[in-house]
């Protein structure tokens, strides 16, 4: 373990954190959109039958 604190390298961690946050949100939004489309399709199929 390297106990030295390298604050100067903190920028890449900062950007990594912000990017990860938005990737997680984007994935969740995509999940919601896909689920919504699937439910809509199922509802239409049910109405047709």
């Amino acid at each position: 373990m390297n106990p030295s604190v390298n604050i100067a390298s903190g920028d890449k961690f900062l950007w990594a954190a912000y990017i990860v946050v938005w990737v997680i949100h984007a994935c969740y939004m995509l999940t919601l959109v896909n689920r919504g489309k699937r439910l809509e399709r199922e509802r239409k199929e049910l109405n047709r039958n």
């Binding site: 604190v5 903190g10 900062l14 946050v21 997680i24």
Partner: protein, 232 residues
């Protein structure tokens, strides 16, 4: 309703954009940690929102056990799912902040460990809801949610009760803790923005859960009225 949703979406996007500017460019640089401390402006609001959503899940689960309300069950599911998403963000941004500041990604101190346990409890709740079959699943899930919520106050109090690597709380943390007023502005803007976003997620997921119930009922109804020889 769609117009209102679109209006709220515009407000959320504007708030998120301004919150980002506050966090990255307007809030002052922290004296010891430097710019990497700005992770805090996403880390803290995400943690508070996760706690709030688990509390909503707790209340909705109690309501479901008392009234067997479909709406309460849908709200419990939606709040757990969105809460897990925010808790995941906390668990990922935490180590990304810890590595340059502490020199380690993770340590098994009370705050970090109890947060991981909290995440595991609600992931197991979602796994139960997704994969288990049977009419009693919402009841079992509600019981799990009610007892699982007991971990939230433990997570919150862990840095007060135990000596931890995690910093002291920003509110009521005693001497030497707390935030500069300019940092509070960035925290509150991001908190407002992510609260609005979480509210939208909950709304969409709640509606989807209700639609799923309706579809399941319609399928069950249709299969009951099928002619006996029709399925052959």
């Amino acid at each position: 309703m769609k117009t209102l949703f679109k209006l709220i979406t515009v407000c959320t996007v504007v708030l998120l954009g301004y919150g980002f500017c506050q966090a990255m460019y307007i809030a002052p640089k922290e004296a010891t940690m430097g710019d990497v401390q700005r992770i805090f402006y996403y880390h803290l609001p995400s943690a508070w929102i996760a706690f709030l959503l688990f509390f909503v899940n707790f209340l909705a689960s109690i309501w479901y056990l008392i009234r067997r309300s479909k709406g309460a069950d849908a709200l419990a599911l939606a709040s757990a799912e969105v809460g897990v998403m925010f808790c995941t963000i906390v668990l990922i941004t935490g180590p990304l902040w810890a590595r340059p500041v502490w020199g380690i990604w993770w340590t098994w101190d009370a705050r970090l460990t109890s947060t991981l346990v909290l995440w595991l409890i609600y992931v197991s709740y979602l796994v139960l809801r997704h994969y288990a079959v049977g009419g009693q699943i919402p009841v079992l899930a509600s019981a799990l949610a009610i007892f699982g919520f007991l971990d939230v106050p433990i997570v919150y109090m862990a840095i007060r009760w135990f000596r931890t690597q995690h910093p002291q709380p920003v509110i009521g943390g005693g001497e030497g803790s707390g935030l500069a007023p300019a940092m509070w502005v960035a925290v509150l803007w991001n908190l407002a923005a992510f609260m609005l976003l979480a509210g939208q997620y909950i709304w969409v997921r709640y509606r989807q859960a209700l639609t799923t119930y309706d579809l399941e009922e319609a399928h069950a109804h249709a299969s009951l009225h099928e002619e006996p020889g029709g399925a052959r």
